[in-house]
């Protein structure tokens, strides 16, 4: 009997992924194509980032994908000098939160954007990236 295919695409997300299987696995395939995507509820138009498969507003599960585009305002950020187990080789790195108005995106600042150049309130964009270890992620860059 043929082995059942397991869709574990999400294990490719970030330096270390702690999740392998999710209904939002298409997020990974979009990242491969260079797109960072959120979801929108087709029933009540609620917008979600990070993407959700189920709507907590109307409790329906009828979602469509939308692309995170344009720029978001940098709400806050922090550069880590110590990291958790598994992230040592990435250090130092800067985590941040961008406000796109209808939704926010949490992620990392691109390595080519120095910490000293960052200020709360500046506009940044979100771009998909392939990490040195082959994993997929996204980073914040200058527009």
């Amino acid at each position: 009997m043929a082995k059942k295919e397991v869709d574990d695409r999400f294990k490719r997300f970030g330096t270390v992924s702690f999740t392998a299987i999710t209904k939002a696995n298409d997020f990974i395939s979009y990242l491969e194509k260079g797109k960072v995507m959120g979801t929108r509820c087709k029933e009540c138009e609620a917008i979600y980032f990070p993407p959700r498969s189920d709507c907590s507003k109307c409790l329906q599960s009828n979602m469509e994908w939308f692309e995170v585009s344009g720029t978001g305002r940098l709400l806050s950020f922090s550069e880590l000098k110590y990291g958790p187990v598994g992230f040592e080789e990435d250090l130092p790195y800067t985590i941040a939160l961008l406000d796109y108005g209808d939704y926010k995106v949490f992620g990392r600042i691109s390595k080519d954007l120095p910490y000293g150049d960052l200020t709360v309130g500046m506009e940044l964009r979100t771009e998909s990236t392939t990490l040195p270890n082959g994993q997929l992620s996204y980073v914040f860059k200058r527009p």
Partner: protein
């Protein structure tokens, strides 16, 4: 309305590398609370065991600990909301007593953080956030709180030295608390000295001195119905108000980065239930896992207006002699933060203060005290108001 009273409090010393197992650690806090309450294990109707999971290998620690404490065959179960686990357990115990299910309940909080390495500990704590969407970026607790610090600085002009002053205060009292893990003084000069460990950056703008001390420890709170409390205890401390709230786990869901919404909400509930205002609080324990957390607590609980927390610490109003003494036991910063034991330890401090038994740390004649205990990065919040 029938009240619920606290009739016994205890905690182990908070230490690095406790030389025993989790059941033996839990015994230390329990024994002290039982001796304080002067009751026998048969007087206890149920026990609630509180800790954050994944620090030790024991699955379902409630059974093992209840057995070791001599609390079998009474019902026992486990409650967790990470760092606010034992405050959440107090909330559950309160409701069980009010419902008439039991008239005496023991809440035992514990954590043996030294079972794992510091890096592993950061990874565990980081996984108290959103493991699907955020942990893959390499998040950890200090970095999340650092983002709050950065936002607070950008919005209100709060400085790194304002935060350092909170650690200096904590260390002032950590030195006189014999149960604290960190007993040494900390000065502003140490924060400015590149040679000092205190000044080393963890996650900008937070430095080692801004971060609480990991520790092993246990705490125990024994609560009773009004009738039992009056019969068993000369100086019961009453639970006047309880508040609890939750917030989105994902930072992308947050719309306030200069304060914790769970603290604001839980505080409102607790003040309303107790029928008091922030001005009525004589002594407080707040969840200073990081210096910025205490700064935000001042503002979220109404001790200072938003952005004015720096003036409160600057004028030393939160010192023992000030208008609103906060964390005069050393706080999580110096006393230490054994996750599941922390809420119980905070409650113990306020109970001792209200009974006038806090020794060198005693605040002058307090009548009403407050405990602010947060789980995760403002993910869970509990505020408890106690009175004589």
């Amino acid at each position: 309305m029938e009240k619920v009273g606290i009739i016994g409090v205890g905690q182990s010393s908070f230490v690095r590398g406790y030389p025993g197992s989790i059941r033996e650690l839990a015994f230390e806090g329990f024994k002290e609370a039982m001796e304080d309450a002067k009751i026998h294990t048969k007087d206890i109707g149920a026990s609630i065991i509180a800790s954050a999971p994944e620090y030790d290998k024991q699955r379902s620690p409630a059974g093992v600990i209840a057995e070791y404490l001599g609390l079998v065959p009474q019902p026992t179960f486990y409650i967790e909301s990470i760092c606010s686990s034992s405050s959440m357990a107090l909330r559950v115990a309160y409701s069980m007593i009010k419902a008439g299910l039991h008239d005496v309940i023991a809440i035992v909080g514990f954590q043996k953080m030294s079972e794992i390495s510091s890096g592993e500990s950061q990874e565990r704590m980081g996984r108290g956030a959103d493991i699907q969407w955020e942990s893959p970026f390499g998040t950890m607790m200090p970095a999340y709180y650092a983002m709050y610090a950065k936002a607070h600085m950008a919005e209100y002009g709060t400085g790194e030295e304002d935060l350092a002053k909170i650690r200096v205060k904590a260390a002032t009292y950590g030195q006189i608390n014999e149960k604290a893990v960190y007993r040494k003084p900390v000065t502003l000069e140490m924060f400015a000295d590149p040679e000092s460990t205190m000044s080393a950056t963890v996650a900008k703008p937070l430095r080692v001195g801004d971060c609480c001390a990991n520790a092993d420890g246990s705490s125990c709170i024994i609560v009773a119905s009004e009738e039992k409390a009056k019969a068993l205890c000369d100086k019961p401390v009453w639970i006047l108000g309880l508040g609890a709230a939750s917030e989105t786990v994902n930072m992308a869901g947050r719309d306030l980065l200069t304060g914790l919404k769970v603290a604001i909400e839980a505080g409102k509930q607790a003040y309303a239930m107790a029928g008091v205002t922030p001005k009525d609080i004589d002594v407080a324990e707040v969840h200073d896992c990081f210096t910025i957390a205490e700064m935000m607590a001042y503002e979220n609980l109404g001790f200072a207006k938003p952005g004015e927390g720096k003036d409160l610490i600057g004028s030393k109003e939160t010192y023992k002699e000030g208008s609103i003494p906060v964390n005069v036991d050393g706080g999580l910063l110096s006393k230490g933060h054994p996750i599941g034991a922390t809420g119980g330890s905070q409650i113990r401090t306020i109970v001792l203060q209200l009974r006038g038994e806090a020794g060198e740390m005693q605040v002058k004649d307090p009548e009403i005290g407050l405990v602010h205990n947060i789980g995760g990065v403002g993910l869970y919040g509990n505020v408890t108001i106690l009175g004589r």
